[in-house]
């Protein structure tokens, strides 16, 4: 039995942050009931990647990924005619997850300040870009904007060319996934407390704050006045020859900060002449831009003749931290991912049989499981609104 099996979650979310938060709970067995507007469904059903065939609202790979193990009920919580059905569902759930704009919950009768009078044991979690009381100039945001408001955007990539725009983070939804992680953690911690107190509570998570807290090691020093703040695009960077280099069959990343890394490189390259001109311990003590540039030039020329996997395996043996820059395709073939079962197979009625990414933590007693594919729109409506339960 997985850890969250005894809990029921009502998901009002209509974007990635809330849907991923629901998924994180559903992975551990929580019964997550997703409300979707009749005939329309979640907006993520209309985002790709799409399967070539199948009904329009049932062929989104994004929706399929974000909603495994969940139930779908066709019900618009904002429709007054649905108020009674919504009320009955609220009687039966432990947690509500929402990711609409601040104020929306109050509009459907779930005022964050007042809901506990009617539902004292309920946990209500609201995930928004900037929290419940955003300033006037932060009422609207997509993930790109949150990434930039958090400080990550301005400083991406490392070693930025100041004349070119800062870059968005990886993929479409990284800020949403990050925000979901803190939200799921808070929900489970609050469930833990409720086992003793019997009380629910309101939890609000700001995606901007989640992302900014992910750079606490640096931002904490800045806010304490221990590190200079500036308008420099490289204000978060570490300096040195580390970076991504082209190989014969792709790219590799090299990290170099300590004498052991330099020695590893020397052995890997067969003690080349150019390395002899560098002083001992230059990485820590005399890491000047010209030396970094020269070091990078030699590494680049050599790595261009190598294949990423074999050169990384060889480097690891010599104590040099060099790794392949993997693609999704590479990860499919990773022996380590296979060993841990990170990708698991699931059959979806429209998308067919496919591998899905699972979770990055293996729990010995209560492992996460992919048990059922994302629901078809409204497939559980009759059963769950009739009050039969699961």
């Amino acid at each position: 039995m997985s850890a969250l099996r005894p809990y029921r979650v009502l998901e009002l979310s209509e974007s990635v942050a809330g849907e991923y938060c629901g998924k994180l709970l559903a992975d551990f067995g929580a019964e997550v009931i997703k409300l979707e507007k009749p005939g329309e469904g979640s907006p993520t059903r209309r985002l790709g990647p799409f399967a070539g065939t199948g009904e329009a609202l049932e062929r989104s790979g994004l929706f399929a990924y974000l909603n495994t193990n969940k139930r779908s009920v066709s019900l618009d919580p904002a429709d007054p005619a649905a108020a009674e059905a919504l009320r009955r569902l609220l009687e039966r759930v432990d947690v509500v997850i929402d990711d609409h704009a601040p104020g929306w919950l109050k509009g459907i009768g779930l005022d964050p300040q007042a809901f506990s009078a009617a539902w004292p044991r309920l946990l209500l979690c609201s995930i928004t870009p900037y929290g419940q009381t955003p300033p006037e100039d932060r009422r609207h945001a997509q993930d790109l904007n949150v990434f930039h408001a958090s400080g990550w955007g301005y400083h991406t990539p490392t070693g930025a060319d100041e004349s070119r725009p800062p870059l968005n983070g990886a993929g479409r939804f990284l800020p949403s996934y990050e925000a979901a992680l803190d939200s799921a953690m808070c929900i489970v911690a609050a469930l833990y407390e409720r086992e003793g107190s019997g009380q629910g509570q309101f939890i609000e998570v700001s995606a901007q704050q989640v992302l900014a807290s992910r750079v606490d090691y640096v931002l904490g020093q800045m806010v304490a006045g221990d590190m200079d703040v500036s308008t420099r695009r490289n204000a978060l960077d570490l300096f040195g020859p580390a970076g991504i280099f082209r190989c014969r069959d792709g790219y590799a990343y090299i990290w170099m900060s300590a004498p052991s890394h330099w020695d590893g490189l020397r052995r890997l390259l067969g003690d080349p002449e150019w390395m002899k001109a560098f002083p001992e311990r230059w990485l820590e003590r005399e890491c000047t831009p010209p030396r970094v540039a020269e070091c990078r030039r030699h590494i680049a020329a050599w790595l261009a003749t190598q294949d990423k996997e074999p050169v990384a395996a060889e480097a690891q043996k010599l104590g040099l931290t060099l790794v392949p820059v993997n693609s999704a395709e590479d990860l499919k073939g990773s022996p380590q991912y296979r060993h841990r079962g990170y990708l698991a197979e699931l059959e979806h009625p429209v998308l067919g049989r496919s591998l899905y990414p699972t979770v990055p933590y293996k729990l010995s007693e209560t492992p996460a499981r992919l048990e059922s594919p994302a629901p078809l729109l409204g497939q559980d409506t009759a059963r769950l609104l009739a009050g039969e339960g699961a």
Binding site: E136, H148, A212, V218, V229, A252, V325, Q336, Y342
Partner: protein, 401 residues
Amino acid sequence: MTQRKRGGPLQGVRVVELTKVWAGPYVGKLLSFLGAEVIRVESLESLDVTRTFGVADINKAPGFQAVNPQKLSVQIDMKQPQGIALLKDLLARADIVVENLRPGAVRRLGLGYEAVRQVKPDIVYVSMGMWGSEGPLAYQTGYAPCFAALGGVSLLVGYEGEAPAGMNVRYADSTFGAAAAYAATVALLHRRRTGVGQFVDVSAVECMTSMIGDTVMESLLGGTVPLGRGNRHPDMAPHGVYPCREGEWISIAAAGDADWARLCEAMGQPGLAQDTRFRDLAARKAAEDELDRRLAAWTAGRDAAGLAAELQDRGLAAARSQSSVDLVADPHLWGSGFFREVHTSEGEARSIVGPSWKMTREAAIGAAAPRLGEHNAYVLGEILGLSPERQRELAEAGVAR
């Protein structure tokens, strides 16, 4: 001890950290922000390097202080058998242990899961490794940017048609820590309900892959994942970062045709919305170079914050790209209590990065990061019940100073 009664959902939970640098300590930080009592086991013989960066005084290292507020520190020498015995006594009174030492290190110390389970059968044991604790690549080690490279994240960040540029070098450790903290709370809840502890094995590389889960899904479904799409987005256009005056940048994302029409009005060119070249998403995606050129020409020379406010007034998703000086001066982050003040045991005030959340019954956060061994008397005396003489003996033997 006030540490035990700060409120918050995890009040009463005791966490022991055998962690170094960032990812492991970040787990303890999150749990402590939720109300847990978090005890770092440290020693001069095997010091966390972040206690030494940039300063002579190991109690004043800025990076260490940034990631370890509201924790306790006990100094126990894990290189001595007596130290290991003492640590096991502490683990017998703990609920969670978190370790992110090098692969195999805890087992060599006699502190692997099986050994700890002997003294505390229901422990929640959180093990953090680049690739997880077992498997063909588990022996490998690396730093945060390696996690991002291996997990598929780095390849996706870059300018169109160029080599990948990767995320900022600071990305990955804290995300790894947050995932481990979530898994720890799940295991803790299970223990509360059933009395059963467990081993939680977290992989940094997999944490990275989970941050691009939909992209991986696209590949698994047989699609081709485009590399380095700059700031572009398959479902929105315009979607980019545009230059403003004095080296500032603004991020703008238009989610649909209505957003585009409002943006055209903001630009003073309402007719542009009807222009067939930009009429719908497909058209705008096809003409995105031209679209981005027009927007950049319009934003150039404007004040980023003012322009963001103007666009927000029209209901558009826009935000200034915040530099470090913008962030530290962000009034919203101060007003919401995200940046907040704590105090060292000497009474010195210090600002920290607080929690990303608020909750009805939250934990008080008031203490700065601990000095090395600052809480020896509490841990050895109050938790382990050792007499003052015994504590003195241990100090003289260099076991717990």
